[in-house]
Amino acid sequence: MTRAYRRLLPHPVLTLVLALVWVLLQNDVTPGMVVFGLILGIVIPILTAMWWPDRPKTFHVWRMIPYMLIVMWDIIVANIQVAWIVLTVPNAKLKPAWIVVPLELTQPEAITILAGTITLTPGTVSSDVSSEGHSLLVHVLHTDDPDADRDEIKNRYERRLLEIFP
């Protein structure tokens, strides 16, 4: 039973996301479109399963929702902060810095999400990952205390991602 389920739905979340994207693309919720979206959502993961052999086995989808809400709020705050820095801080007084974030996350998917989150939030752009994937290089636009920024990234985002990708 479980094996049949695994063969038919190798990636249930991807199935739902594809169906949702299809319905949104149609801009119209009709039963036919929902059914066709679900068909696409079942066929595409089966056809592409060979290209993601090492995907994470456990992944808490529901814990993504509070994470996404926090990130959205941070994006709004970040935009206002960066706009303020752009408009008020002269170039000579700007204190950009590199910070190195040691990673506890090991899965490539989780590191990718962390890097994307860092780029979208307060004055930070994730620039590079170390050659073995144990640290992340982040560029900060304007900071007085690089260590505090590093701790905030670790406490606010990485800790939550560790819960999502155990």
């Binding site: 949104l24 040691p102 752009v125 590079d128 170390s130 073995e132 144990h134």
Partner: protein, 127 residues
């Protein structure tokens, strides 16, 4: 005050906020003088600027009586792709040494961008 009129006002307000953030992004791009700091303004301010413009589009479509949700998809794809392009620009400026060079990572040998045959092993690669 019908919902349509309220939606029109809200659309106008989000257009104004969105345009403000886009302008700030452009000012930042022109004002800063280092490739890495210039990267910050468009990546961040762009997301909320475009997001507010798309919100205005949704609201005005609703006010016109033809609701649309395509904008949610545009926003989702934008939020996924914006960090990727920023990441690539950052990697290019590290590789070309256009910016102040980053400190070495604590546990591994070097950063993956610098882990290439022409830069590995010597501090000052020949031009």
């Amino acid at each position: 005050m019908t919902p349509e009129i309220l939606a029109t006002y809200a659309a106008a307000l989000s257009l104004l906020i969105g345009s403000f953030f886009v302008i700030v992004g452009v000012i930042g791009l022109l004002k800063f003088n280092d490739p890495m700091t210039r990267l910050h303004a468009p990546t961040k301010v762009g997301t909320i600027g475009i997001g507010m413009l798309l919100l205005a589009s949704m609201l005005s479509a609703y006010a016109a009586g033809d609701p649309s949700v395509h904008e949610l998809l545009i926003m989702a794809f934008l939020f996924v792709t914006a960090p990727v392009s920023a990441h690539f620009i950052a990697k290019v400026s590290i590789h070309r040494q256009d910016c102040q060079q980053p400190p070495s990572p604590p546990r591994d040998g070097t950063w993956s961008t610098l882990d290439s045959p022409d830069t590995r092993g010597d501090e000052q690669p020949s031009p």
